[in-house]
Subunit: 183 residues, 2 copies
DNA sequence: GTCTATATTTCGATAGAC
DNA sequence: GTCTATCGAAATATAGAC
């Protein structure tokens, strides 16, 4: 608390005036972070562009916003690890952010699944369960930011290499994912 | 410390006898965890089986060992997030684990990259930088465990659904990755 | 609403008997 | 090596003046 107060340039007592306790403050921060993490992505996947375009936009959105907030994934995972009770706050954090009107999350997933199935039936795509596809997409976008230190250590990337890695990833990843879908 | 001592059924003072301080204990735990996380995978990728077989084995290895230690990824990420200084311990944790003899990590990555390039030159695979491929593979294997609560919330999976999800993932993921590589 | 001063709790660490 | 008892630091939270 005092560390936060110091960095904010105010008195520790003031934090307790606005937030009743340390835990209340932590919860508020977590809500905002979760909102940032899930805010835009659902709207993009629910938009009415072509499937390929939506996938590319989703990847770009993730990489661009996470590049601006590189600690977001690590923080959310760490916090969820620290207190599993935060999961409930996650739900409210997601609905607080602008959910596309007329679509709850379950319906959105189902709609995307129907699209994938249709393309598979047309012989264009391989068959793949929606959940698996969504997790693949999110994993490859988000994980690199959460695991940056590990990746840099294992592959051997310096600080400036990391930037180049992300530049390349922005164009390579959509290509990789779309090629994975094509039969 | 007292929480750990209680769960271990011993006295808090005993922990200070074996580990000099709280931080020393935390470091020891982190080292062991990092070893578990990186131990087997490098050896598998360095083995002399066919590329396709090695990829499938890597995925199975990750999913199976993480299923037995589901909190490992979240913990390592959380700890790395808490104290960036742990990165150095990561390096020693990796070499402590059995690194395949005759191969350091950099050489291993380079060798794998040469294989991918050769298959691309033969017209069988698309062209893809090694680091991107390795990160894709690791992301899709590890991230689901680190982000399990989020995934369950977004996609809407109950506890038993999660088990079925992992069963499916074990067979779907190698297929997805190999199809992504094929031209 | 914002500060100073202080109360209260928690927790890591040590001393010392056995 | 393992315990009981306790010290001392640190940090959350509150009281109360302005």
């Amino acid at each position: 608390m005092q560390e936060i107060a110091a960095e904010a340039g105010v008195n520790p007592a003031l934090l307790h005036y606005y937030f009743r306790s340390k835990d209340t403050l932590a919860l508020a921060v977590f809500r905002e972070a979760a909102g940032k993490l899930f805010g835009g992505i659902l709207a993009i996947l629910a938009s009415d562009a072509g499937l390929e375009a939506r996938i590319e936009r989703a990847v770009h959105h993730y990489i661009d916003t996470l590049r601006a907030n590189p600690f977001l994934p690590g923080y959310v995972i760490a916090e969820l690890n620290f207190d599993p009770g935060r999961i409930t706050a996650l739900a409210t954090g997601m609905t607080d952010a602008h959910t596309p009107p007329g679509h709850d999350r379950r319906a959105l997933v189902a709609k995307l699944g129907a699209e994938l199935a249709a393309r598979a039936a047309a012989g264009e795509f391989i068959e793949i369960p929606v959940e698996q596809f969504l997790v693949n997409l999110a994993s490859m976008c988000v994980f690199p930011f959460a695991a940056r230190p590990m990746i840099q250590a294992v592959v051997g990337l310096g600080a400036s290499d990391w930037d180049a890695f992300l530049d390349a990833r922005r164009v390579e990843l959509p290509r990789f994912i779309l090629n994975a879908l094509k039969r």
